[in-house]
Amino acid sequence: MGPASAGRRAAQLHRPPEGGPTWAALLTRLLTIAATALSAGAIAADMGAVTRVPLPRIEAGAGERCVEATAYMRRNHMEVLKHHRDETVRDGIRTTQHSLANCITCHAGRKTGRVTGSDGFCSSCHSYAGVALDCFECHADRPAPAMAATKP
């Protein structure tokens, strides 16, 4: 038997049965089905909030709305606060609209009276996002007893 006949036999061995799919094609189809099922499961989990990571609990603040649009505040609250803090510390400008104290007055938890802690407005979101929250190393995390919030 020469090398040519050996090659022919190998080709016969690997030839699929008549009309059926190749192994590779089968495998691909299986994988696709599995992936679809998995992603569907993930979406379902998202909808039902059944994840391994605890989602932030955002309690609605006091008053009708925030001092700025909610979407803007979600993205830019740190810049707003930083700008205001420099004005207050360096220049003595004590407007309340963008002050941290004003944030805390509205957003302190109804039960705890604080913005920190596992359900705190600031802490829960910061721990979900994995962003250090240094404000309350120095600042009080609860409103002043007689502090009235500034409406927008």
């Binding site: 220049d91 003595g92 190393e137």
Partner: protein, 241 residues
């Protein structure tokens, strides 16, 4: 007639223009007597204190306790406890005891500001010397530089701060002249407490306004700046030292 009307209009317009031109300067100058929250601390003002040692009672620490409760300080006596104001008793050779409060002297040329490597130690436009805790790295150069030993370092974590007075571990701090009260047109807590205790040994006011009570008292009686030889021009003056 029309000429008269024009002239009248011209006069009114000029008066209005003059008003606009003068208003900013006048407003800033008058701010010593209360200002709106959106207006920065004015440049024309220099806040200061006058301590009348003839009225300061030895053994009384009303100013110290008032400072502690106003600013949320521990009020402890350990060397590591923050202390923004303290009472010092002076005894002369014949045993006569006199006392005085010692705190940040709010110098016009503060050495703490000179040495600060980050710019955290600064002098506000109205002469109050402060620490910006957001920039303070806790190196304590300013504590070394201050000839009055007025500054403290926070060694331990702080909880339950006063909302108006944020303070925390790792920063240097000192008397702020109750800046949060001054910005709302109130006098410092120590001055208020001294008056409540009936001594009235502390007088707070604008040193650069010749009409203010503090300036007139300084013009009338002999006052001393502690370590005047250093030429730092402290904003706290002592009468009867």
């Amino acid at each position: 007639m029309s000429v008269d009307l024009d002239r009248r209009k011209f006069l009114w317009d000029s008066a209005a223009l003059a008003g606009i031109a003068l208003a900013p300067g006048i407003t800033l100058y008058d701010l010593a007597q209360g200002r709106a929250p959106e207006i920065p601390a004015p440049k024309g003002v220099r806040w200061g204190l006058l301590v009348d040692m003839n009225r300061c009672e030895p053994g009384c620490d009303a100013c110290v306790t008032a400072c502690d409760s106003e600013n949320g300080l521990p009020g402890g006596k350990r060397p590591t406890d923050a202390q923004w104001i303290r009472k010092i008793e002076l005894k002369d050779v014949r045993g006569r005891v006199r006392s005085l409060p010692m705190m940040c002297q709010h110098c016009a040329h503060p050495p703490c500001v000179d040495v600060c490597p980050t710019g955290a130690s600064f002098k506000r436009a109205d002469g109050i010397v402060l620490v910006d805790r957001h920039t303070c790295i806790g190196c304590r150069y300013c504590m070394m530089a201050c000839p009055y030993g007025a500054r403290s370092f926070v060694h331990e974590p702080v909880t339950d701060q006063k909302p108006e007075v944020p303070r925390g571990k790792g920063c240097v701090e000192s008397c702020t002249l109750c800046v949060h009260r001054i910005d709302r047109d109130r006098i410092p807590a120590c001055v208020e407490a001294c008056a409540t205790a009936g001594h009235k040994a502390l007088l707070f006011g604008d040193l650069s306004d010749p009409q203010s009570e503090i300036s007139q008292r300084i013009a009338a009686v002999a006052t001393t700046q502690v370590r005047a030889d250093l030429r730092l021009d402290p904003g706290v003056r002592y009468a009867g030292l």
